[in-house]
Amino acid sequence: MISKISFFLCCLFLSMNAHAEKITIAAAADLKFAMDEIVTSFKNVNPDESVVVIYGSSGKFHTQLRHGAPFDIFFSADINYPRELVRAGVAIGEAKPYAIGRIVLWSASQDASKMTLNSLMEQKITRIAIANPKHAPYGKRAEEALRASGLWDKIEQKLVYGENIAQTAQYVQTGNAEAGIIALSLAVNPELANKGGYMLIPDNLHTPLEQGFVLTKHAEGNALAKMFADYMSGKSARAIMVKYGFVLPNDINAK
């Protein structure tokens, strides 16, 4: 019995790292593949640090952070959410832009690079997936683009709404929706790219998707959080972002 207790206590103590810093990142769902790679490369340079990433919809994270969620850095698909957090006093520093998001048309059953937005009116497209415009930034831009092209009224009954942009992509990937408007960063990932190409939706059809991040009050005094934030503006992180189709904030005219 004593040996069991001491074994348990040993495990407990061993599980506590000497380097006690760890950070939890709340990242928008469209960052799934890009952020995984950035964290891996960050850990290669800083092997003893603990970085945990949670993906979800920016709106949800914003709400949770307003109510004290223990995230250290919030990467939002819409910079307005981090700005709200700064205004509400639950963030430290300023909201910094990290990328410009783009939306694309994508399908798993046909090559979307040959499609246009007007193809959405075709009979064989019975369901079109977009993220929920009410709280998902990519969904909002999808709605704007559809309205700007005069298609909204014509295809509204075909729409199904994903909880976040990742679920939206899942609807299309499983074939439940024949086509959808998803994030470019998801469409360029090999998992989705293997199923077919994408059609980049002109960015003059929607308000820019300026994406920003901010450190939260929870990260106050956490040196690792500041380190990661700085890493984001470093060369390797930026290269990974570009690889995943994100336009970097200082070279808007590049794409």
Binding site: S57, T126, N132, L159, Y161, G162, G175, N176, A177
Partner: protein, 229 residues
């Protein structure tokens, strides 16, 4: 208005879904419960466990696998396609089918308990009075198990009203079709519309409470079939 039009639409959709699912489960669940209560074979165990699965499976798991099964690459989806019917995901009837699975144990288990409580005696007596099994079921078993039917129906109804995880996976959040009240509340919260969220949640809370209150006030004590020992 206390509730917006979209909210009322969601509430009405939820009630419709819960009513239809309860009716379907009464038809489907009663024979299953009867069999589980009366069977003496070895199959009783596994079948009982399968029926109880939706109780422990996370709703999102159930929803996800239903989505795959009903999708164009899944067995159900392909069957539907060959029959020429519209695909099930993101439709009201897709939601009905998902809810039938999800609420199955809430119908079957109270019924099974009520049927078991009848015991063999009343049905044996009915048989000696020359009642056919079907006749005995309707004239003897059902009246004795009526409190069980009431519990099962109310629990199934309430459980379907509260469904969220399954709907989130398989619903597609289509207004008026699959945007049930639980999803509408979630949408309000996500969009930071806290006042509407409070209103709708308050209405659903009051509604659920009244349903359950009726269960607890009107339920008769199960004294059916028991002989005085």
């Amino acid at each position: 208005m206390y509730l917006t039009e979209a909210d009322l639409e969601a509430v009405w959709l939820t009630i419709r879904l819960a009513c239809i699912v309860t009716l379907i489960l009464l038809l489907v669940g009663t024979p299953i419960a009867w069999w589980l209560a009366r069977a003496k074979t070895w199959w009783k165990g596994p079948i009982g466990a399968v029926v109880a699965l939706p109780l422990v499976l996370p709703p999102s798991v159930l929803g996800f696998y239903l989505l795959l099964a009903m999708g164009p690459n899944g067995p159900v989806g392909q069957l539907i396609q060959t029959l020429g019917l519209t695909p099930l995901p993101f439709t009201f009837w897709g939601l009905v089918i998902a809810s039938v699975f999800y609420s199955l144990p809430f119908m079957v288990q109270p019924l099974q308990t009520a049927f078991e409580a009848i015991g063999d005696r009343p049905l044996e007596v009915a048989a000696t009075l020359r009642a056919s099994p079907l006749n005995a079921f309707f004239t003897v078993a059902v009246p004795l198990a009526l409190p069980g039917f009431l519990s099962a129906s109310i629990l199934t109804f309430a459980h379907t009203v509260g469904e969220f995880g399954v709907v989130l996976m398989i619903g597609g959040n289509v207004p008026g079709v699959t945007r049930v009240a639980s999803v509408q509340i979630y949408d309000h919260v996500e969009a930071l519309e806290y006042t509407q969220a409070h209103h709708l949640a308050g209405v659903m809370l009051a509604f659920s409470f009244l349903i359950l209150l009726s269960l607890y006030i009107w339920r008769k004590k199960p004294n059916n079939g028991r002989q005085h020992e």
